[in-house]
């Protein structure tokens, strides 16, 4: 192995990841708390009510941040899957395994907040003509497929590689589904002229508040995924000396 690749394999070492994240976690949690606090207070108290949507634009700040972040799960799992299949790095699979349920949570929350917002804006809880919600629904199905494949295969190594392949195929499919549903939607325009553009009438204040919230939600994604991946490391590497020492030191 050439020296150029050393960092790559060190990065893939569970021990290296565990030790690094021990040092990073306080900073990440601090930044997450800061951005969440600023984002939520801003969205709830300081964001001027929209002239059309009134106070419901406060919903959109959360919805847009969660929706945008939930789009990153399939690319993340596809990259992790590629690393699993090509370099057989255990850490990539530990991340991918925990990303799937978290992604399902994110996608579900996107659907829930979207439909709560829609109940005001569209006058209905579910609107098939909103292509974003429809593609999110199918992303949720695909994520549930990855999760159920993981639980169905008993051999951990086989499950890792099968889920890696499905994540790559799923990632390509999510893109195709998104474009085809968009296309489909433009041909089935709603009969009533309701504003479908999320955030269209909102000014720069809205987008700054949303940007803060997006950073907050991404930091939250990182923290939550790091926590679950560290649990995974403790479980899978329980025979390793360094884990035993760590367990012995724990209260």
């Amino acid at each position: 192995m050439s020296g150029r690749w050393q960092w790559f394999h060190r990065l893939g070492s569970p021990k290296w990841f565990y030790e690094k994240t021990t040092r990073w976690l306080p900073w990440l949690v601090g930044a997450m708390a800061l951005f969440l606090a600023v984002g939520i207070v801003w969205a709830l108290l300081f964001l001027p009510p929209d002239y059309q949507q009134g106070h419901t634009s406060r919903i959109l700040v959360v919805h847009v941040a969660v929706a945008g972040t939930s789009l990153s799960f399939f690319p993340l799992m596809a990259v992790a899957g590629t690393v699993t299949l090509v370099w057989r790095i255990k850490l990539a699979d530990m991340v991918a395994k925990n990303a799937a349920p978290l992604g399902a949570w994110f996608t579900f929350l996107t659907l829930a907040t979207g439909s709560i917002w829609g109940s005001v804006s569209w006058g209905t809880w579910w609107e098939w003509t909103d292509s974003r919600l429809v593609s999110m629904l199918f992303q949720l199905f695909l994520l549930l497929g990855v999760i159920s494949l993981r639980t169905a295969i008993e051999n951990a190594e086989t499950a890792a590689r099968a889920c890696a392949l499905l994540s790559i195929v799923g990632c390509i499919n999510v893109v195709i589904i998104k474009y085809s549903v968009d296309w489909w939607n433009t041909l089935h325009q709603p009969s009533s002229p309701i504003s479908m553009e999320v955030g269209s009438p909102n000014g720069p204040e809205f987008w700054v508040a949303t940007a803060v919230m997006i950073v907050a939600v991404y930091l939250f994604l990182a923290v939550s995924l790091i926590l679950t991946t560290r649990n995974e490391i403790l479980q899978r590497e329980d025979k390793a000396q360094w884990v035993r020492e760590l367990v012995a030191q724990a209260r």
Partner: protein, 84 residues
């Protein structure tokens, strides 16, 4: 009142211009989502550490009794069962 706050009173803030249910249910869901996805991994971590500590202690006890066969033969059998 701090400058820039969009509400004149607490009751106005809670009412959200008539959209109280929608706004507050979204923020409640968001809060549950955040807390659950941080608290559950932390709880699992505690359980993992507790289980592994117990397992290591059992392993140590077995090594001790192996060194001193007179210690208690009954222990050995139950620990071997645990390992499976």
């Amino acid at each position: 009142m701090i400058d820039g706050i969009q509400f004149n009173s607490l009751s106005e803030f809670l009412a959200m211009g008539g959209y109280a249910f929608n706004v507050w249910s979204v923020y409640a869901l968001f809060a549950i989502f955040l807390v659950a996805n941080l608290a559950l991994p932390l709880r699992k971590r505690r359980l993992i550490l507790r289980d592994q500590k117990r397992r290591l202690a059992a392993l140590d006890a077995r090594e001790d009794s192996a060194r001193d066969p007179a210690d208690s033969a009954g222990w050995e059998v139950s620990m071997a069962g645990d390992e499976k």
